[in-house]
Every structure is written in structure tokens, then in C-alpha cells.
Symmetry: D2
Subunit: 304 residues, 4 copies
């Protein structure tokens, strides 16, 4: 079984990603960060999801309560006040483990040297802090899979920026320029990877299925307003999927940088397809996904 | 016949656009500007092309010899030292008309009130200066067609910027925010509109055809190095085509702004497809082109 | 007598500068621009001031009605709605001469080659447009004196920016980098050059003196709120004074650039006193003024 | 005795500051960071200085080896290759304590709650990382004294920026906006606080005095080239002095922000003396120093 560490801002699709990872991999821990929702909500939601699936053995460690330089920015209209659309209200959250997420990431990376895949499905603040603390992460980590960015499609919070990149672009810049072996799972592929009522129907009968139904209601409504499609993009679960099985996507090796100094383009992931910059590629960027197969895999997993 | 005024930095594809316009429209004048090549070369090339086709009656007026704020930047590898790949070396250039391009644009716009279409196939310095001098241009000009930008495809000088926008992004910002009725003919459609050896072969037998063959040699070679295709994108001629017959393209009405403050994204035309910014649309942006029909039209015209 | 052309956004202190120039020099014309007040008010105020002093023979030519890239920004609390604190309400304005200020600047510079001093006491939009139209200005103009900037003292509209530079920093950049022989008369010296009730009292008995009293009332009140001193800084008159007699100031030759890309520092004039940048000096910057002598000279002139 | 924690990039004047602090206060530890010299040199130098004065009991903890977002930038011409002008070459460095500087800062701040003064005489990377890890620092720390910035005088690495601010402006922004009780000891006062050959002569006879003489040779030479004065500005020692005895300086309470997005002004500390921004003051900024008394105090201390 693959060893994964998840960094999340749970978040509806983080939650589904957590369930997927917990059922299909050896999750050595989950770190939380400010993002879709506050650090407190993200942490409580993560603990509740683990309680729901009976996996309170997985340690949850709190991280940064705000971006490196910028103010937090919540998208209440998408994820609800609590980040998971009001689901799991009655569920007991319990307490997180002690410690600080970046320290925990470093500790696990050293402990599971060259065996650990980090799956980052939130603003990259924790990972940036870990990189600045421990340059040897580059040697210790097997792979980093990031849900974030958009290289050939528009953004989902500004015309050019994806949410995780936009919230903490300075952190993103640190991570993308770190020399770590990174795969970027951006909107180019995640927006093609849709969960609809049909698949949600097929999941019913299990607590996981009910949670997916409860939590995605508002999200799908808002998504329909923007895109016209009543569905729920599996952004974060696809990143977990790529960590589990690379064959779900086709990637290109590209130089990618993040804009941090522009009113118009902050958080944009600028990919250099024609090598205009002359810079070396630094990322594997997902360009296509076998979305149908992944969604099938996700539905099957939720029924496991 | 439509009345056109062309603003050019001739330039191989500007030259082809000039020939197309001269044969199909009432060209009231041509203004020149620094861009692909220096103002001096751009002016001489324009005069030579008009001499080639026996249309020295069309006045040519010089404009800005550099961008508003930035230094000139020539792409010698694409257009050659002289801007037209060494063609028309022996042709007599003659003298331009007196005056300054922005003044001439204003004069013609007032003279042909609501009848004149401006076709801008170069950095937008002249037009920006004209707008700042005469706010009433907005009432006088019928339509502005701009070759420039890239809204869903990468740039052709940086990862995100098209050449004309990149050279003078401040001028582009002034023009795009001017309230004038603008159609943007960007790389999204011009890069699909390719002239190959087959069409160039069909043009032979006329001086125009020979000029196209002579001038495009180096351009096609360089284009092949970048894209793998031995062809010549008809950037500027397509803009003339759109001015002559709007049905060559399908457009969308969008808010578009130009980045001017970023090392990474300067000159990028940021189109807001999902109205994330909440701003009113300001441009008709070409999203698709009937390239085959246009190329056929171009070939036929060159044989006229 | 020195030949001067003034570029103004009249404005209380522009008005006093105009009177000073008209009495002490051969003023070949005055151009107006958007700044402290709108182009319309600036033009009407200028015409009224000339009417007041019986100099309607001096041509007034309208220029840019807004900055190159930015929106206009008026400081009503300083200069009043009309720019001159409600003075000259009943005075007849008459009509400006035809033409566009940048064209007129070029025409006069060519006509009075190497004899003409330009005194610019407003945002530099007109001058920037003139420079981009006619590169030979560099050879034609004798000297340019600019009221603007602050090199060792804080700004007067943001912590670091002086008003004229802040309103159109892109224009300022064009002018300061133009290679023209420029003397910068900034807040370092103009804020030391104060007119108080004592001097205003000494001016009474002439229409000019009454105008100074009427127009400066609100200005002095506002100035006292900010600085605690009931006085009126002679920003623009000092620039005229420097054009008339260089010995009013001590200057240093420095490299100065203007910030245009920063939320915090836009419009700041960055002077390189220790040559950290390694760049050649481009300006004579006023570092000290013989303010007492200039104020005396001003009072005497107003009584002439 | 006051409890101090020093954060240093030793560096000649850091070294003198360390000696001053060790003799006059209870130094609970010293953290090192990339700055004038590499993290490795800064750490070794710090250990050597402590060895020199027989205070190897003070723990030294390594921190960040580079700025948050930018590349390191060493001023070899000022501080020499090794940061201390080649002094203490033969001195044994020993080993630093284990741990990471930001963690150690947090640990000490909690342990000595409301008793600890942090004296930061280097780029602010460590402190920024500590603040992002532990928001409660704001409650735990008694005072923060920072050597950095320049509010009414030019910079010492660019026209507007002081070195510590310039090297990691993003870290500086985090620290200055943190809400911690900060006193800024900038070039406005440190450049007035000069050690000359006279005082260095008076220190001779002790190992500390010899070290000062050895280490400052190159620094004073370079300083003379720039300023014409053969002396050594006591930047970092003055910050230690202010932490020990506030009466060495007169401060003003001001809003100060750091520029991070400008080619021209990066690292500039913009102080709002007239409240143009309308923002609340966040720092006590040193505006004047009793330099003579401090230098006397420093000389006496070195002889202790
Ligand atoms: Ca997420
Ligand atoms: Ca062109
Ligand atoms: Ca003025
Ligand atoms: Ca230091």
C-alpha cells in the first residue's frame, strides 16, 4: 500500500479525497490549513470525516491559520460557512494531535524516507513553511501531488487563477520552485472530473455515500449557477487518485511559475509550453484525465 | 466599398494585409509605427508594397518611433532585419506624406465620421496617442479591428503574451479601455489561419504572389522550428479580413484587460469568460475562424 | 527677457506663478491640463487670471483631459471645487486658442529653438505626449523646469509621492527619462517657500493682491490642518522663479526615477544620492532654496 | 538584568552587538540566519565570538538558510567573504545547539513570558517563520527591537532600502504587520552612531578590543569609499543598546509598511508621518539617537 500524507482545508472535496485515501492507502497523517474554511473548521471537519469512517487512528495535525503574507479569504457561497455544506453537524470531532503541520510533514518525510507521497489539496502555506525549515525534504519525499492551478483553462476565482494558488501565491511560488518532484493536478483535468446525481445515487446505503450527498448539495447548486451543470468537480479526490494511480492522467513536463505581483493575474500558474522563457521544466502537469475511469473507481471505493 | 485605415509595422503579414485591403476596400491611408521592425523600415516597407501594387496614391503617414513607456524590441529571427525577410530590396520606397500618424487617424476619423474602420495590426502606440488627444474618436470611428492578444491559447513571445500587446502593453490598456467598438483578432484564430506552400504556389504569376513567396521564406522556416509546421500564420491579413467581412469569425463579447505590471504576464490579454471580475464586456473577441474560407478568399484576392 | 511657456492645471499656486511669469518674462503661451482641477476649470481659471492682469494676448491652449493611463483625481479639499478657492467667480474667461497643448509645445519649441524654457507646474501628461510625438524636442528646448517630486522629504498626497508625480506617474517617467535638460523643483524646496498673511497684506491694493488673498483662504486653512502653519507654499511660483533666476536654488545632479508599479510608492521620485544604481544622472534637483529672497521678489512683482 | 534573545547574521556589527549584550544582559540564546553572510558562516562566527568572550554557555541555534521567497545576496565588499573581515580565523567554533531558530524563539518566548526582548539584527526570515507558526507570540514577547529600515534617510543597498529589509522584504512585511510591540532602529539613527579609530584605540588591551580592530578594518575602508568618513556605523550594537536602555533614542509612533512589489523601491520602509494612509501606527521608529553617550557606553562595556 502506498504511504500518503494529506494536507487539507476540508472542504467538501477534501473530505471525499480523505475517504478515498483512507480506504486505498496507508495514510500516515493529515495536516490542516486555512483555505476554503478556517483552520478550526478545516481541522474539525477532518476529524469528523475520520470519525465517520472509523479511522480516528489517523493523526490530524493543525498548521497555518492564515496565508504567508495575505489575509484569509473564504468562499462561503461554495463550501458553506463550515466548509462542508452543513454536513456532519452532530458528529463528534474529538481533538487533533499536538504539533504543527510543517513539523509533522518533515517528521513523516524523514521517517518514511523516499516512501512518502504528499497530497496537497489546499493552499500551500504548510508545505512552504516546511520547505523553508528543512531543505532536505527534497531528498526525503518520494513525490508531491498538488491540487491547484490551471494551465490551459480559466481560473475558478479570478479569470486566470485557481483557488488554492490564489489564496497563497507566495507559498505556491516557494513550493513550485523548491526542486521537489511535483505533479500538478489543476483545473484542466479536475473540472472534467464530475460527480453527478447518478453516481451519488449509486453510493447511497453507506455513511460515506450519505455524507457525499449531504455535503455536495449547496456546492452543486452553486456550480450549476456558474457552469450550468448540476455536478460536483472532484478536484481534491482526483489529486488523491493521481497519487494512488498515475495512469488516471496524462502529464507534460513543463516550466511553471506563479504570479504574485499583479492585480489582474495573482495566483495564475504560468506554464511555458513553447519554452519562451528558456527555463528548465519543474513540474509534471496533468493535461488530460481518464475521468470516467477515475469516477468509477471513486464510486466503487465509496461502496467498499 | 468599406473605408479602411490601416495602422501597421510592416512586417510580412502586415504587407499581405495591406495588399488584401488595397484590393478589396477603399483604403483612406496607412499609418506606420515601431513594432516588428523600426519605424523607418516599417514606413519604407509600406511604401514599397504600395509601389509594388501600383497604389502609391494611398497616403502613408509616420507615427511613434517607440512604445509609450518601454524600449523597442525587434524579433529579427522572425521578420528579418528589414521586417520583410529581405524582399523588395530593389523597390523604390519614395517618401511618406507629412504629418503624424495619431493626428492623421483623428483627421480621417472626423472626415469619414461613422464610416471608417480602423485596422490595427501593430503595437497600439499610435492609437493610444490618438485617443488621448481626441476623446471624440469614440463618436467618430465606426469600428476598430485589432490584431493582437491571445485569450485561450498561449502567447507568441512569452508564455502568455502576444507580440503586439507585449511591445506596448500600456498603449494596449489605453485602447482596450477606451470605450471604442473593438474586435480583437488574436492568436486564438490567427494561428489557425495558415498559408502553406500550396497556396503560395497558386498565387505565383503575379508580383504580389512573388512577394509573398520571397518574404515568407525565413518566417516559415522559423515558424517550423517553433511549431513543427511549415506555414505562415496570416495574423494581420485575417484582421483585414474581419474588417471586410465579419462572417469569417465567430466572436464572444467579453471583458478583457491587459497586464502591465508583471514580469511574468506583461502583455497578457486577460479575458473574463465567467465574469469573475463583475466588469462589463468591452470587446468582441474572436473565438473561432472559418480559416479555410478566409485563406481561399486571400488567395483569390492575390490573383486579382 | 526670457521666453517661457507654462504648462498648468490652474490651481491657486499656478495662478500666482502665471502672474509672476507674465510680469517678468516673455510668455509665449500657456497650455492647460487635467490635475488639481478638471481641464475645463484649469483652462477657464487660466483665462480669467490673464484677464485679471490684462494679458489676454497670451494664447492659452487646452491639452489632455486625463492622465495617460489613470483616472483623474482631484483634491477638492485643497484647491476648492473650481481649483482656485472660489476666486474670480465673476471674471470673464473668454475662449482658449484652438489646438492641442502637446502640438503647441512642439510648435513653440521649434519656433523659438534653443531659446524657450518650459515651466511645467502640473501633471506631466502634455509634455509626455509632446515627447512621444516629437523626439527632436530634445534639441529644440533650452530648459525644462518642473514643479514636482520630493527627494528627501515626504510626499503631499501619499507618504512618498508629490501630487503632480502621483497623478500621472507614467507621464512623469516618460519626461524624466527623455534626455531633456530638466530641473526638478520639488517639495524639498517648495515647502520651505511660504507665503503668510504678512506678505499677502503687503500685496493689497492691486487686483493681483486681492486675488491672492481671495484664492488662498481655503488653501491656507487646509495647510494649517496638515502642517500647523497658516501659510501657503509657493510650489508653482518657485518653479517659475527658478526659470527666471537660477540663483534662487542650489541643485544637485542626480539620477532620479519615478515609481509606477507599486501600491505603496506610486509617484515617488527616487533619487540616487550614492549611485547605488550605477546609472547616469538625468536631472538637476533642487536641494535648497533661498526662500526669503524669492518670497520678497514675488511680493515685489505682485506690486509691479 | 534584562533577558534578551538575539537573532543575527554575524557580521561585524552583529558581533559587537553580541559582545555588548552578553556583558550587559541575560542572553537566553542567539539564533542565526542567512544575511550578510551565509547561514554557515553566520553560525560559526557567532560561536567564535562567544568563545572569544568565554560565553559558550549561551546556546546558538541555526535558522533559515535563505529568504522566504528570494535568493540570498551577500555584500562581500563590506563584510568580507566570511562576514567578519577575516578576524577570528584560528578561533574554534564548536557546534551549535540542535533545533531550528523559529522554534527556539517560540520556546524561549513562552518560557520567559512577557520578560523577553527579541533583538533582531539581520533579515527577518526567522522571526517571520516564528510568527506564522505561533500567533500567540504577540502575547508572550515583551518587546522586539529591530535593526532595519530607513524612514527619512536614503538606503544602504539601493537608493531607498536598508540591507536587512531589502534581503527579505516579504519577511519584513510579516513581522511589521504582526501586531508585536516593535521598535525600529533604522539608518536614521545607526548611521549617526559611528565608531572611529579613537574609540577603537581606547578598547585595546582586551581580546574584545582586538577583535573589533581586526574585524572592522575592511568595513571602515569600504565605508570611507562610500561616505568619505573613516568610521564604522554601529548599526546592530545600537539596536542592542536600545533594548538595554531606551533612553539612547527618541522615537515616534508611526505607521510603517515595507515595499515588496517594486523594482525601484523593494525593501523600502515607508513611514507615514502625516497619516496620508489613514492607518494606525504599528511601530516605534527611532528618529534621533544620543549617539555620543551610546558610543561611550559601548567603549566602556568592551573594556569590562
Ligand atoms: Ca481543498
Ligand atoms: Ca504587424
Ligand atoms: Ca499646479
Ligand atoms: Ca546584522
Amino acid at each position: 500500500m502506498k504511504k500518503l500524507l494529506l494536507d487539507v482545508d476540508t472542504g467538501i472535496d477534501d473530505a471525499i479525497g480523505i475517504i478515498l485515501a483512507a480506504k486505498r492507502a496507508d495514510v500516515v497523517g493529515i495536516t490542516t490549513v486555512n483555505g476554503n474554511t478556517s483552520l478550526d473548521y478545516a481541522t474539525a471537519n477532518t476529524l469528523k470525516v475520520l470519525n465517520l469512517i472509523g479511522r480516528t487512528d489517523i493523526p490530524v495535525v493543525r498548521g497555518a491559520d492564515r496565508p504567508l503574507l495575505r489575509e484569509p479569504h473564504f468562499e462561503v457561497s461554495v463550501h458553506g460557512n463550515d466548509g462542508i455544506g452543513g454536513a456532519l453537524k452532530e458528529m463528534d470531532a474529538g481533538e487533533p494531535a499536538s504539533g504543527f503541520a510543517p513539523d509533522f510533514i518533515i517528521e513523516m518525510a524523514q521517517k518514511h524516507e523516499r516512501e512518502l507521497t504528499l497530497v496537497l489539496t489546499a493552499p500551500l502555506t504548510n508545505m512552504a513553511l516546511a520547505i523553508r525549515k528543512e531543505p532536505r525534504l527534497r531528498d526525503w519525499v518520494k513525490e508531491v501531488v498538488i491540487m491547484g492551478g490551471a494551465v490551459r483553462v480559466p481560473g475558478n476565482i479570478t479569470p486566470t487563477a485557481e483557488y488554492n494558488m490564489y489564496i497563497d501565491p507566495e507559498a505556491a511560488k516557494i513550493v513550485l520552485q523548491s526542486g521537489l518532484p511535483i505533479t500538478l493536478v489543476g483545473l484542466d483535468v479536475t473540472e472534467q472530473t464530475l460527480l453527478t446525481d447518478v453516481e451519488i445515487g449509486r453510493m447511497q446505503g453507506s455513511p460515506e455515500g450519505e455524507f457525499v450527498k449531504d455535503s455536495t448539495g449547496q456546492y452543486m447548486k452553486r456550480y450549476k449557477e456558474i457552469t450550468g451543470i448540476h455536478a460536483c468537480a472532484m478536484h481534491d479526490p482526483l489529486a488523491v487518485g493521481v497519487a494512488l494511480d498515475r495512469s488516471f492522467v496524462r502529464t507534460g513536463r513543463l516550466h511553471v511559475d506563479v504570479e504574485t505581483n499583479s492585480d489582474l493575474c495573482d495566483g495564475q500558474t504560468v506554464a511555458d509550453f513553447s519554452n519562451w522563457t528558456g527555463k528548465q521544466p519543474n513540474l509534471d502537469v496533468c493535461l488530460e484525465a481518464d475521468s470516467g475511469r477515475f469516477i468509477e473507481y471513486l464510486v466503487e471505493t465509496m461502496k467498499m
